[in-house]
């Protein structure tokens, strides 16, 4: 279970970033004090336009960066004080995190398994299971640099799941994947949910969120504009599809200028 309370994240901007923004603001508030909870046996969707604060929220959850204010609790562990314990509990996947192209999937997965403190036997059985699930087995001794984009993405998923985490946070997990591989990933996320795991995904694909998520938070300009089940979001916005609901909230937030 994840509990996020009053999460706020402010970044100090470099001179270059200030010039790019075209103003003299030294700070950017990426997330403006958000609260939400994600439960076991649940897939929770974080939706929002680019720059809305989704990835920053996820990075805070993964303890890669520290919140400026507020707190994060993952399965009873405090994100700030017990970072290592939180990381033992979770898997985080985002396009910014890459694997060394020089190594093979076999070596890379073992390496991360060892860093998570797993025994060689556990690594072997877990790796074989994940390799089979994501069709990595035929390429296990091929250099990562020689793999296709889709295979690299699948391997990133395998590596993130090697320690059988309770909490799974995937930022755009189907990005760049063909339709068959994307289906493999979403089906596996459903399986994880049935195993009692807590899953958070962010996606720009509304149909994926509709099909996969039990609850959704729509985040714009660092604030949660709507949170709930699909039905609750439809009710809140008076729309009958997630696409329409999203644009309704987008318009209410002031369109492009304010998100």
């Amino acid at each position: 279970m994840i509990k996020v309370s009053g999460l706020k994240k402010t970044f100090r901007l470099s001179k270059k970033q200030m010039m790019e923004n075209g103003n003299k603001e030294k700070f950017k508030v990426a997330v403006k004090g958000i609260d939400f909870e994600v439960f076991d046996n649940e897939i929770f969707g974080l939706l929002g336009p680019n720059g809305a604060g989704k990835t920053t929220t996820m990075r805070c959850l993964a303890t890669l960066i520290s919140p400026t204010e507020g707190s994060i609790n993952v399965n009873g562990f405090d994100g700030e004080k017990e970072g290592a314990s939180v990381r033992r509990q979770l898997a985080f996947l985002t396009s910014e995190l890459k694997l060394d192209t020089h190594f093979t999937p076999d070596y890379t997965t073992r390496f991360f398994g060892r860093l998570h403190g797993l025994s060689e036997a556990s690594i072997e059985s877990r790796m074989n299971h994940l390799f089979e699930t994501f069709d990595v087995t035929p390429f296990r001794h091929t250099k990562i640099g020689d793999l296709s984009t889709g295979m690299k993405q699948k391997l990133s998923i395998v590596v993130s799941l090697i320690h059988d985490p309770q909490v799974i946070i995937f930022d755009e997990p189907t990005n760049g994947l063909d339709i068959i591989t994307a289906r493999t990933v979403t089906e596996y996320l459903k399986q994880l949910k049935t195993q009692g795991k807590t899953v958070i995904i962010s996606t720009h694909m509304m149909h994926v969120a509709e099909r996969l998520c039990d609850r959704i938070a729509i985040i714009m300009n660092g604030e949660i504009k709507a949170i709930g089940t699909l039905e609750e979001i439809y009710q809140m916005t008076g729309k009958s599809t997630l696409d329409d609901a999203f644009f309704r909230l987008y318009d209410l937030a002031g369109g492009e200028k304010n998100v």
Partner: protein, 401 residues
């Protein structure tokens, strides 16, 4: 923690030693290129020396007295020609390399020498070209022959050659006890410089790639998602880099040793050198190793901190180049300086290790000085490790964009 440190170190070493390109550029090429360059330099210097020694000096002279002419002609390495060409023509011939030396004696030289009563002495004007090695050598040769002529004149004035003998100087090389015997001074000056530069150069390329490169590629961030402390991650990288630096340094040093048969003439102060001189006692070897480890620790952590601060490989290169220059300047200062030191020098980081290495090689090892240098190196290495660890925790450093 130790287990994680070892896992990261092994991965980093595997990254280096399974990449043929990195192995060739960091271990094979330095050895091969240094062996080749030093050998070629040695061979070229030998060839030049042989050419100068076998060259017959073309000497043109004006108004050369008979006694001097006889001395010139008695030297088989000189081809003397009496001439009446002027200085301007002789200078152009010297520049063209047609002659090696041009000497002009004042008219009536011999008479003026004979009449000498403490007044003005007759002059001899000599000309040579500073751009020609054989011409420079001719200047020494003619100078030595004229000195012989002067002695003849003086002997004649004083009434016999015996009057030229004022004292008998007998300088003998003392026997150095085997246990105190250091190696050749030229090599002792050179080795610390090479060790220092090779360690830094060996760690530089791989260090930049391992830290700044991984930051740029996003692979370091993936490791931050594991329960391992960020300090352990950088610690593992520093350890592996130390191993790489020592191996790379050893490879470069082997290159120098391979070139010794050809390069001893310019590396050694005595002009010759054999490998048996490199043998040091157990205590000396230990102290030399301690000095080397001190340098490795400092260089690897300097490279790590600067690479951490950089957002890209290119930026890391820009940050590390000035540090490399400082290392080179320190190495050259030690190479040309004296091994006799002020006690304060033992507290100057980097320089103190180089100084001790030199003293060890010269047979003047001082255990206390080595330990002081090791202490200062350890303090700096630990301080830099703390800086590197704190940088790993800075969001702006790890995720600059």
């Amino acid at each position: 923690m130790f287990k994680s440190l070892m896992i990261i170190m092994k991965k980093e070493l595997r990254r280096v030693f399974t990449d043929r390109r990195l192995v060739i550029t960091n271990f094979v090429l330095p050895m091969a290129s240094i062996a080749l360059i030093y050998s070629i330099m040695g061979l070229m210097i030998s060839r030049t020396t042989e050419e100068i020694e076998s060259h017959v000096t073309k000497l043109y002279g004006v108004n050369v007295p008979a006694a001097v002419e006889m001395i010139f002609k008695s030297d088989e390495s000189i081809a003397f020609t009496e001439t009446d060409i002027g200085a301007d023509e002789a200078e152009s011939m010297l520049l063209e390399g047609e002659i090696d030396y041009y000497v002009v004696f004042e008219p009536g030289f011999e008479e003026k020498v004979a009449d000498q009563n403490g007044g003005a002495v007759p002059t001899i004007d000599g000309y040579y070209s500073p751009k020609s090695d054989v011409s420079i050598e001719a200047n020494y040769k003619v100078g030595a022959l004229l000195e012989a002529y002067r002695n003849t004149v003086l002997a004649s004035r004083l009434g016999g050659e015996a009057f030229l003998d004022v004292y008998a100087l007998s300088a003998s090389e003392i026997e150095i006890p085997v246990e105190d015997k250091g190696i050749d001074r030229g090599i002792a000056n050179l080795v610390p410089m090479l060790v220092s530069i090779f360690i830094f150069a060996g760690a530089m390329g791989i260090g930049m790639d391992s830290i700044a490169g991984e930051k740029e590629r996003g692979t370091i961030a993936t490791m931050l998602l594991t329960p391992v402390d960020r300090g352990v991650i950088i610690g593992g990288k520093v350890l592996s880099l130390s191993v790489v630096a020592v191996i790379s340094m050893a490879s470069s040093f082997i290159g120098v040793l391979l070139s010794i048969p050809f390069s001893a003439n310019f590396l050694s102060a005595e002009g010759s050198f054999d490998m048996s001189q490199m043998s040091l006692g157990g205590a000396e070897l230990f102290m030399f190793f301690v000095c080397m480890i001190g340098l490795v620790g400092m260089y690897v952590t300097i490279i790590s901190v600067l690479s951490m601060m950089a957002n890209s490989l290119k930026e890391a290169g820009a940050y590390i180049t000035p540090a490399y220059m400082i290392v080179m300047i320190t190495a050259f200062m030690n190479m040309f300086g004296s091994a006799d030191t002020e006690p304060l020098y033992q507290f100057i980081p980097i320089y103190n290790n180089l100084l001790n290495m030199k003293q060890i090689l010269l047979g003047d090892a001082n255990f206390g000085s080595v330990m002081i240098a090791f202490g200062t190196s350890t303090v700096i290495t630990l301080a830099l490790l703390i800086v590197a660890r704190s940088l790993m925790h800075k969001e702006k450093v790890v995720f600059p964009s």
